[in-house]
C-alpha cells in the first residue's frame, strides 16, 4: 500500500525526522490560509498523487506570494496530472501540500528497502540526489553506497557514519545524518514499511546554520501487515487505486486490467501468468490477470465472471483451473451460476484439472450450456485465440 507525500512526511516527523514546515489544502482558499500559517515569503505547492515524476509534469510549483500559492493550487486541484508513472489518463489531483521553500545547498538520495538477496533491510545512499536512482545505479554504480542491517541488532551508529561519510555529510551534519537514518529505520520497522525512499534528502541553509531536511518521501507498506497497522491503514486513498481492482479484492479476487480481448479466470498467480503467456504465444492478447485464489466458491467464480465481463473489450473468457485446495465441481457450479445470472454472451473456454475434475466435467457437460472444454493448457490457449480471431 502506498501513501501520499504529505502523509509520509507527517509520519516521519512523528519519528523525529526533520521535514519542512507545511500543511495540506483541498482548495485555493485553504491553500492561502495554510501558507499564511506556516509563514515565510516563498512556498512550494506540491500536487498530492501517489505516482512519481510530478516535478517534470508540472505538479510542483514555487510561489513567491500568497496570491501565487492560490493560483498554483487552483490550477492543480481538480485536474489530472500525467507523469511517466500514471499512464496516459493521469491521476486526479484532489489536494496539495504547501511547505516553506528551502534554500537547498546540496541534494542526496537515501532509501531503505528489503533486499531480496540478503533478506534484510538495506540502506542505499548516494551523493547524487533528486535524480533517478536507478539511472545512477546503472551508469555509475560506484556512487551507490549500501549498508545491510542485522534485524536482531538494528541499524548501528557506525553504519550511519559510514554512509554519511561516503556521501559527503561531514562536520555538524554527520550527527544529524545518524539521527535521521536511525529514525527512518525505526519508522520502517515499527510501521511494517517495505520501502522508504527519501529523494531528495537535502542540506538546507537556515540563517547561518546548515540543516538536513527530507524534501520528498515515499513510503510503501506491507498489505499483509495492515491488520496490525491501523493508523497506516487509515491513510489508504482508494481514489488512487483502480476501482475494479478494489472491488475485486473485496471479493477475494486478485484482478489486474490489461489491454487485450481474452478474459482470464485462473487459480494461482503462477498459473494465471502462464495462461496469459500461453495466449500471447498463440498470438492472442489477454484482457486481464485474475487469480481466484484457493477455496473458490461458486459465488466467487460468478463475481470473477462479472468483473471480467465489465471490460467491454472481452470477446471470450479462458477459464483455467488446476484445483489443489480448490474443487473443480465448485468451479463448474459457479460457471453455470454465472452463465445463468449474468446472461453471458461470449464463449467460455474451460480447462479443469486436479481435485474432483471428473465431477466438474460432468456438471459442465450435463448443464446443457455451450462451454468449450479444453484438455490442457495448450489446447485451451489455442481454442481461445482461434475463437477471438474468428
Amino acid at each position: 500500500m502506498n501513501i501520499h507525500e504529505y502523509q509520509a512526511k507527517e509520519l516521519l516527523k512523528s519519528y523525529g525526522v526533520p521535514v519542512p514546515v507545511g500543511g495540506v489544502a483541498y482548495s485555493d482558499a485553504q491553500a492561502a490560509q495554510v501558507a499564511e500559517e506556516i509563514g515565510g515569503s516563498r512556498w512550494v505547492v506540491k500536487a498530492q498523487i501517489h505516482a512519481g515524476g510530478r516535478g517534470k509534469a508540472g505538479g510542483v510549483k514555487i510561489a513567491n506570494s500568497i496570491e501565487d500559492v492560490q493560483k498554483s493550487t487552483d490550477a492543480m486541484i481538480g485536474t489530472r496530472l500525467v507523469t511517466p508513472q500514471t499512464g496516459p489518463e493521469g491521476s486526479l489531483i484532489q489536494r496539495v501540500w504547501i511547505e516553506q521553500a528551502s534554500q537547498i545547498t546540496k541534494e542526496f538520495y537515501l532509501g531503505f528497502v528489503i533486499d531480496r538477496g540478503s533478506q534484510r533491510i538495506t540502506l542505499i545512499a548516494s551523493g547524487e540526489g533528486g535524480v533517478d536512482i536507478e539511472e545512477v545505479a546503472r551508469a555509475t554504480p560506484e556512487k551507490i553506497i549500501k549498508e545491510t542491517v542485522d534485524p536482531a541488532i538494528g541499524l548501528l551508529d557506525f553504519q550511519c557514519r559510514k554512509v554519511a561519510t561516503a556521501i559527503g555529510l561531514k562536520g555538524k551534519l554527520m550527527p544529524q545524518a545518524v539521527k535521521l537514518m536511525k529514525s527512518i529505520y525505526r519508522c520502517m520497522r515499527n510501521q511494517d514499511a517495505l520501502q522508504a525512499e527519501i529523494n531528495p534528502l537535502a542540506v538546507v541553509a537556515v540563517g547561518e546554520e546548515e540543516k538536513l531536511m527530507v524534501l520528498d518521501a515515499k513510503l510503501t507498506f506491507d498489505d499483509n501487515a495492515l491488520y496490525r497497522q491501523r493508523a497506516v491503514k487509515e491513510m489508504r486513498d482508494l481514489a488512487e487505486e483502480d476501482p475494479k481492482e478494489v472491488e475485486a479484492s473485496g471479493h477475494g479476487l486478485n484482478y489486474i486490467a490489461l489491454d487485450g480481448n481474452i478474459g482470464c479466470i485462473v487459480n494461482g498467480a503462477g498459473l494465471a501468468m502462464a495462461s496469459m503467456d500461453a495466449l500471447t504465444l498463440h498470438g492472442g492478447r489477454p484482457a486481464n490477470f485474475l487469480d481466484v485464489g484457493g477455496g473458490a466458491s461458486p459465488e466467487k467464480v460468478t463475481n470473477a465472471c462479472r468483473i471480467v465481463l465489465e471490460d467491454r473489450n472481452v470477446k471470450a473468457i479462458l477459464v483455467n483451473i488446476f484445483a489443489g485446495i480448490n474443487r473443480c465441481d465448485w468451479i463448474a457450479k459457479g460457471l453455470i451460476q454465472a452463465c445463468e445470472s449474468l446472461n453471458i454472451k461470449v464463449p467460455l473456454i474451460v480447462r479443469l484439472a486436479g481435485t474432483n475434475v471428473e465431477e466438474g466435467r460432468r456438471i459442465l457437460a450435463e448443464s446443457g450450456l455451450s462451454f468449450i472444454t479444453a484438455e490442457n493448457l495448450d489446447d485451451a490457449a489455442t481454442k481461445a485465440v482461434a475463437i477471438v480471431q474468428g
Binding site: Q85, I114, R116, G117, Q119, R120, I121, E134, D150, P151, A152, R189, D192, L194, D222, D223, N224, A225, Y227, R228, N254, I256, L258, V266, N267, G268, A269, G270, L271, A272, M273, A274, S275, M276, D277, A278, L279, T280, L281, P286, F289, D291, G294, F322, A323, G324, I325, A353, G354, T355, N376, L377, D378, A381
Partner: protein, 294 residues
Amino acid sequence: MSVFVDQTSRVIFQGFTGEHATFHAQDAMKIGTQVVGGVTPGKGGTRHIGLPVFDTVADAVRETGADVSGVFVPPPFAADATMEAIDAGIKCVVVIADGVPVHDMVRLQRYRVGKDAIVIGPNTPGIITPEACKVGIMPSHIYKKGRVGIVSRSGTLNYEATEQMLALGLGQSTSVGIGGDPVNGTDFVTVLRAFEQDPDTDAIVMIGEIGGPQEVAAARWAKDHISKPLVGFVAGIAAPPGRRMGHAGAIISGESDTARAKMDAMEELGLYVARNPAHIGETVLRALQENGIR
C-alpha cells in the same frame, strides 16, 4: 531416496485441529505419510483424527520423535510457529500460510542463522515425495513416483508441470514449492543442491516467475555445481512492468526482472528452457533423452 522428506519422516501439523490441517493431514496419510500428531495450543492432551494433540512443538517432538512439521496456522502467527518448530529441533518446517508479513520473515531468517533446519515457504503448496510423504496442500493424485525433481515458486504452475510430465509417463523424486514471497525460507539453490546429491533424481525442473534475481542467480550457481540436466521456465512474459502479479514477489521492477531476460540468461547458462508454459513436460523429456537417461 528423495530430498528433505521421505517415508521415514515423522510429521506433525501445527494448527492441527483446524479445518485445512485436518483435511491435509488425512490426505497425506492416504499416500503413506507418517503423521504422528499435531500441535494446537490449549488442546494438549486431547486426540484428533486418532492422533495425539500437544500444546507445544517441544512436547510433540519429545513424545513422538517428530522431525518434520507442516505449519497450518494463519499468517500473523506463522513466523512464530516456525521458530517454535526450529527451537524444538524440527529439521524441516513447511509453512503453508499466504500473507506472512515481510518483516516477520526478515526476523525469522535472522533467527535461523546457525541453525540447520530447512524452512519451506511461506505461501507454498508444500513438499511431496510421491507415494511416501506429503506435507502440503497439493492434489496428491497427480504426483507419481519417478526420477525428476521439481522446484517452483508457484503452486498451481507446479501442478501444471506435474500433469504435463504425468501425460508423458514421467514422475517425481520430490516436488518442492519454495513459495511466492519476496523473503522466503528456502531459495532455489538450496533445493537444487539437494537434488544434485540425491541418487534417485535424474533431472531437475526449476519453475520461476517475474521479479527478483533468484532464478538467474540459481542458474549461474548451477552452471558449476549441477551435473544433472536442468530444465527452466519463467512465467510472466505477458506481465506488465510495475504491477504486482498476485504473488508479493512477482513484480517487474527492472529489465533483469522480466521473464524473457531470465529465460535468456538461463539458456546462456546452459539450461533446457521451456519458452512456452505448455511445453514444460516435453522439455523435461527432451533433456532426459538428450542425456541418454530415457
